[in-house]
């Protein structure tokens, strides 16, 4: 116990405690993991590709390459839940030779989905899409750039997708193409505003608190508004995006998802 111990020491102490604390904080962005219905085919297909790239060398294509580990058994000593399996992948077992894998949320979702389903699926039966063909669909038949923007190209009407492959899983992207409203993030819900002096603004929220709201309109202009000065402020749960159900072939859909998964941001 001393008075005025150095700030440096204090900072180290606080940092250590924060690190300890961080281990407990529950993850806040998980899907309904651990339930079979949560594994979409798109995630499994994406995971199969990642598995081949990252896991085959040690675990083998059948998941039996490491002594005492059999992915096809569906039983995992250290991973009763998907969250624990994710932790195993990202932390590894360095003392046993398994390195940590630094994958983003979308890739982890896919890899876990594939590993969980290895006991019922034959990897050869999965048809991965082609990213180059998918980009052609995105920019051509799909006309996605009419509303979205990728790496500085396209419109600002709808969310920028430059990092969509890092933040959304394959299954979520695929479902967004089929049922846009269901998968729409609440922050992207269309907002219609009419100010007290009659100005109409349509766009999406970028931030909101009790008293103010910040909007990006369809031209990408940023607005900050006092709610008390608005005549109308409505948030729609219906997406402006059309469904691509029936508009794209299954192969085009698979290619498009594969392309979007390559968009990892800067």
């Amino acid at each position: 116990m001393t008075l005025r111990t150095s700030f440096h020491r204090l900072t180290l102490c606080v940092a250590a405690v924060l690190l300890l604390a961080a281990g407990f904080l529950p993850a806040q962005t998980g899907t309904l993991q651990g339930h079979p219905e949560d594994y979409s085919r798109a995630d499994i297909v994406h995971g199969a590709r990642l598995y081949a790239e990252n896991c085959d060398r040690c675990h083998g294509p059948n998941g039996t390459g490491v002594s005492g580990v059999d992915f096809k058994s569906g039983k995992f000593r250290h991973a009763a839940t998907d969250r624990q399996l994710t932790a195993v992948i990202t932390s590894g077992f360095p003392e046993s030779g398994m390195p940590p894998f630094h994958l983003d949320a979308a890739d982890l979702t896919g890899l876990v989905a594939y590993i969980r389903n290895m006991n019922t699926l034959d990897r050869g039966s999965l048809n991965p899409g082609d990213a180059a063909r998918g980009q052609a669909v995105f920019e051509g038949k799909g006309a996605c750039l009419n509303c979205h923007r990728v790496n500085g190209k396209g419109s600002r009407k709808a969310p920028d997708l430059s990092d969509i492959g890092a933040v959304r899983s394959a299954g979520s992207i695929e479902r967004s193409l089929v049922e846009p409203s269901v998968q729409m993030m609440p922050i992207n819900r269309p907002v219609h505003i009419l100010t007290r002096n009659g100005k109409a603004i349509d766009g999406r929220r970028v931030n909101e608190d009790t008293y103010t709201v910040q909007i990006a309109d369809q031209e990408g202009r940023l607005w900050s508004l006092q709610k008390s000065e608005l005549r109308e402020f409505t948030v729609s749960t219906k997406s402006n995006m059309p469904s691509y159900k029936g508009e794209l072939t299954p192969a085009e859909m698979s290619d498009l998802v594969t392309y979007l998964l390559t968009l990892k941001g800067q």
Binding site: L3, C13, V14, L20, A21
Partner: protein, 568 residues
């Protein structure tokens, strides 16, 4: 002459700021804290933890004129959960992890800082938090992260003694402000996520010697031990002595009724938090309120809000004591808005259950049986439970105004969570939660289904830009009528709130939230009177006090402590 004038002015200022009025804070002063409206002497404002101030200078009519008096900037990052005390013009506030800072309550200038160096092996679940000090005589008392109790001289900031309370290597910690009663100092221990055996203990205020200790988890043969059943042999990590790691932490300050000579304390979650199969039974005294004899620590009564909890519904709210008229007769009541989403009225003399009613969406239970025990309705696997793990409210303090006869509660509304238990082995100092949890943002047209990967309410911290919305839950201040449990008015926020509430005799309340606004609200109507953006989330209990006849309001946001007053 000028130098003399300056000296005289300085002397006058020092005198005016209370340096001539620093009388010891006796037990009598603590027992009648309401007679000193200028001071804030106890964590809960008074022994009844009403957080009601008799001050009236700031009113609904003039609160719009509040302006900044001073700012104290700490150099410590992390959520600042402390509630300051103010005694005769001096403010005592803790900052992370275990500093005590003595400030001039008029200027914010520092008199001294006491720094306590914790054992580096300290183990805490949720950050290096400390919620404040207790004062008795000329001594301040602080619990430490490494589970010690230290006594500090109010005038010099020098330590007087240090008492061992528990073993931090086994996951014990102290984050609450102690409670000083008569000539003893009472603290409880944190560590509910580490399989501790919780307790509350009293220490001699002069020597630091332990007077009594009450374990919140009974040992075999003790009353309440029958609520710790035997797990099935096939249960993973079945432990016949599960009670030894049953948690029952106490990490927020209790209350005291001098006439009944009982202290009241809210008890935290059971261990493991989420996997009930490892600990069959009701698991007393977890998620309960206990009433103890203030002199001996003997149990007088208990009421369990959430038997066999699997949702981390700590009952660590501050017990609010109020003398009210209940069905035509005087009642020594205890009012409690619980983390489990229900508002309760208990008879604090006997523990009798009188009323229970949800104040937020609740689906883990459907009602109460005749004894006041909740009828539990566990949700199917994968379906959301309301309220979520952070609860309908949490540790931050409510307020009760004897003028409006309303209880003011910071609430989290419409936030659901998918809970799941996972077998977990007890290992000393290791997390013993045993859960697989996911917060939940419902689809617009299918409220029982989640939007995958939708941003949910962050657990503790908030950046300057939100990427989530209130679709997954939001905050509110609720004014609850204790006689009926109904919400008389609701002040809705977009973001959630971890801010406590203070009410005043001019029928104002002050509170904050994660948006960073310090707000003054009409206590009778819920109308906003004044707000000021402080630039960072507020995770503490605002206070109000006065010095030399001027009323101040203080609250922390981010790394800074802000104090407001009316212009001269």
């Amino acid at each position: 002459m000028r130098r003399f004038a300056s000296f005289a002015l300085t002397l006058f200022t020092l005198l005016a700021h209370g340096l001539n009025a620093q009388a010891p804070v006796t037990y009598d002063r603590l027992s009648s804290a309401a007679k000193e409206p200028q001071n804030y002497l106890i964590y809960g404002g008074d022994y009844f933890s009403n957080r009601f101030s008799p001050l009236t200078q700031i009113t609904p009519a003039n609160a719009k004129n509040l302006s900044l008096s001073w700012v104290y900037q700490s150099a410590v990052s992390g959520s600042w959960e402390s509630t300051p005390l103010v005694v005769d013009g001096i403010m005592y506030v803790t900052q992370r992890p275990n500093d005590v800072v003595a400030l001039d309550a008029v200027t914010g200038r520092v008199f001294w800082i006491y720094h306590y160096t914790n054992d580096p092996k300290v183990t805490v679940c949720c950050g290096a938090n400390n919620r404040g000090v207790a004062i008795l005589g000329d001594t301040l008392y602080m619990g430490t992260l490494d589970a010690h109790l230290v006594a500090i001289d109010t005038k010099s900031g020098q330590p007087l003694w240090k008492a061992d309370v528990a073993d931090s290597a086994a996951g014990y910690s102290i984050t609450m402000a102690p409670l000083a009663v008569k000539d003893e100092v009472i603290v409880g221990v944190g560590g509910g996520e580490y399989g501790i055996r919780g307790f509350i203990a009293a220490f001699d205020a002069h020597t630091g010697k332990q007077r009594w200790k009450f374990y919140t988890i009974p040992a075999p043969g003790e009353p309440g031990s029958e609520t710790w059943g035997n797990c099935k042999a096939a249960t993973a990590y079945c432990d016949p002595e599960a009670w030894k790691h049953g948690s029952g932490s106490a990490w927020v300050t209790g209350s005291f009724d001098p006439n009944l000579n009982m202290i009241y304390w809210g008890i935290g979650n059971v261990g493991p938090d989420y996997n009930g199969a490892q600990r069959p039974g009701d698991n007393l005294y977890t998620c309960s309120v206990i009433a103890l004899d203030a002199d001996t620590g003997k149990l007088k009564w208990h009421y369990q809000f959430t038997p066999h909890d699997e949702y981390d519904y700590d009952s660590v709210q501050v017990p609010v004591l109020a003398d009210i008229t209940w069905k035509g007769a005087p009642l020594k009541a205890m009012l409690w808005a619980n983390r489990n989403g229900n508002f309760y009225v208990l008879d604090r003399a006997t523990g009798k259950f009188l009323l229970g009613k949800p104040f937020v969406k609740v689906n883990w239970m459907s009602g109460f049986d005749d004894s006041g025990k909740p009828i539990q309705t566990p949700q199917p696997p994968g379906m959301p439970t309301y309220p979520a793990v952070q609860g309908g409210t949490n540790w931050y303090s409510p307020s009760y105004s004897p003028r409006t006869r309303l209880m003011y509660v910071s609430a989290w509304e419409d936030e659901g969570e998918i809970f799941g238990g996972v077998p977990v082995e007890y290992k000393e100092g290791m997390n013993f939660g045993g859960g697989n949890l996911s917060l939940f943002v419902p689809q617009a047209d299918a409220p029982s289904k989640a939007i995958p990967n939708a941003p949910t309410i962050p657990n503790l911290r908030r950046g300057p830009i939100n990427n989530w919305t209130d679709a997954g839950g939001h905050g509110a201040v609720l004014a609850i009528d204790p006689l009926t449990g109904t919400v008389k008015w609701r002040f809705r926020m977009t973001d959630v709130t971890d801010s406590g509430i203070v009410s005043t005799a001019s029928d104002l309340i002050f509170t904050g939230g994660r948006e960073g606004y310090l707000q003054s609200i009409d206590a009778r109507t819920g109308a906003l009177i004044w707000k000021q953006n402080l630039g960072a989330q507020m995770i503490n209990n605002p206070i109000t006090y006065s010095v030399n006849g001027k009323q101040y309001v203080s609250a922390m946001a981010g790394l800074s402590l802000f104090t407001f007053a009316l212009p001269n």
